[in-house]
């Protein structure tokens, strides 16, 4: 199986810093902005972004974990049901600006489910999407990210493998060629 390294630890850190600077440009000191990490792996990225923002701005930020399992559109269309993860949103998002964070943007269906899931916690003033990797030209529905770590041109047979320190591994993100 062939694999290509998209991010190593150093590049990942640089990219997260850049994304945070971009967020600060648009959101100032985050008085009315909250961040939501998408389960399962978007939460690790969201935690890192929160840490970086808190360090740079010297503030406390609110972070929630959003699980989209119950809002997915492929229920009963898969061979087995997806195991849900915890949703932990300890605040209301009514009239807040929400930054939704995930690791990989592929078909856009998870993001659609997330937009649906977050309405359980109020009507946000605005929602923006931040992803580390944008798999270009592979969207099933019209979804676009506002903040992108890296755009990658991929084939449907390929897969992005995200390994993070939080999962007990080294920070490495790979593009895998499954079929070979």
């Amino acid at each position: 199986m062939q694999k290509r390294l998209l991010f190593n630890s150093k590049l990942l850190q640089i990219t997260i810093s850049r994304l945070c600077q971009h967020l600060i440009e648009n959101h100032g000191n985050f008085d009315n902005t909250v961040i939501l990490g998408m389960q399962p792996r978007g939460i690790y990225l969201a935690e890192r972004i929160r840490k970086e923002l808190e360090k740079v701005l010297d503030i406390k930020m609110e972070l929630g974990y959003l699980d989209t399992t119950f809002h997915r559109d492929d229920f009963r269309r898969r061979d087995h049901p997806i195991t849900p993860n915890q949703t932990k949103v300890p605040f209301l998002i009514e009239d807040k600006k929400v930054i939704l964070i995930d690791d990989v943007l592929y078909t856009g269906r998870s993001v659609r489910a997330a937009l649906d899931a977050m309405t359980m916690f109020g009507r946000p003033e605005k929602v923006e999407l931040l992803v580390l990797i944008d798999r270009m030209y592979s969207r099933d529905i019209p979804v676009a990210a506002d903040y992108i770590g890296r755009k990658v041109n991929t084939m449907p047979s390929q897969r992005v493998l995200v390994e993070l320190v939080e999962q007990g591994k080294k920070d490495n993100i790979w593009l895998m060629n499954e079929a070979e």
């Binding site: 399992t69 229920f75 269309r77 195991t83 915890q86 949703t87 359980m120 916690f121």
Partner: protein
């Protein structure tokens, strides 16, 4: 593990401990949903569920119906009292007629043991057993063990006594299976006439003295005396039963430890439990009811989620 091995939930007997754990973990997430301001998720929005009750029920039926509605399923209810069963229709015909109206899942309670098993061999829909005669009541056992796990941290290693009418109780049998699979020690306690003859062969302890049983256990699951199933008198009077097997505050306070009191409902206050016990902080009876909805959501979700 991410799915159940079967497409029906007929009993606990054929579930593995991993499957029970999967149901618990899924139920944890649904319990979280139930505590939100908006208690509904859209997962089962294209699923139709028929609640087919050939026997009376308030709690179980309401709990299933709420679970189905919280998952956005379409729900139809059927009870035998007001149906063509009275006109002589067979079980299979009744259910096939319901399924002809494009129903995906059937939740069934029936007074004959094995009725849902029979049905599962003849129809395509997912079947959930909501109690079959004196045989099994799987979702009750799941919510009971889930409540023990919630209250005490873990089911494994706990000592649980099931008190009362074991002979007529489907809750007892399902609980015995579930508790043993999860690693708890189980005892049954009641008048000898209400204990099945060979119950010890299931690997449970048998005790006739309620005080000894309570001294042994961490959790007591107290069952209702099912007068409607008793075709003869198994004990002289309810008064005598409550004198020998009723649990009151005095008895609880005379133990040198705190135990958890459970009851599947409906309670006969003053018979198996006095009011001061049923309403005390020892009792987790209302937690059981709350957990029932989350457990049933988990079962429905896991069974419905497989590609049809």
């Amino acid at each position: 593990m991410s799915q159940l091995k079967t497409k029906h939930l007929l009993g606990i007997k054929n579930l593995s401990s991993e499957e029970i754990e999967l149901i618990f973990e899924t139920a944890d997430n649904f319990k979280d949903v139930l505590n939100r301001p908006i208690k509904k998720v859209p997962s089962l929005r294209d699923v139709t569920v028929a609640n087919v009750f050939f026997e009376n029920s308030t709690r179980t039926r309401l709990s299933f119906e709420l679970a189905e509605k919280r998952l956005s399923a379409d729900v139809v209810n059927f009870s035998s009292a007001s149906s063509s069963v009275k006109k002589g229709e067979t079980l299979l015909d009744t259910v096939n007629n319901i399924l002809a109206m494009k129903v995906d899942m059937v939740v069934m309670r029936h007074s004959s043991p094995g009725a849902p098993h029979f049905l599962s061999k003849h129809i395509d829909a997912n079947i959930i057993n909501a109690g079959d005669g004196t045989h099994e009541h799987p979702t009750q056992a799941l919510l009971d063990t889930f409540s023990i796990r919630e209250r005490t941290g873990d089911v494994a290693g706990k000592k649980v006594v099931i008190v009362g009418d074991i002979l007529h109780s489907r809750v007892a049998l399902s609980n015995i299976f579930a508790l043993q699979k999860l690693g708890a020690e189980v005892m049954v306690c009641g008048p000898a006439t209400l204990l099945p003859k060979h119950i010890a062969e299931l690997g449970v302890k048998v005790e006739l003295d309620i005080r000894k049983a309570l001294e042994w256990c961490d959790v007591a699951n107290v069952l209702r005396i099912q007068l409607e199933r008793q075709k003869m008198r198994y004990f002289p009077s309810l008064r005598e039963y409550s004198l020998y097997y009723g649990i009151n505050k005095q008895l609880l306070e005379s133990l040198d430890k705190e135990i958890v009191i459970m009851h599947p409902g409906p309670i006969n206050r003053g018979v198996e439990l006095t009011s001061d016990v049923a309403d005390s902080e020892h009792a987790i009876i209302l937690d059981q009811v709350e957990n029932g909805v989350a457990i049933r959501m988990a079962v429905l979700y896991l069974l419905a989620g497989v590609k049809a």
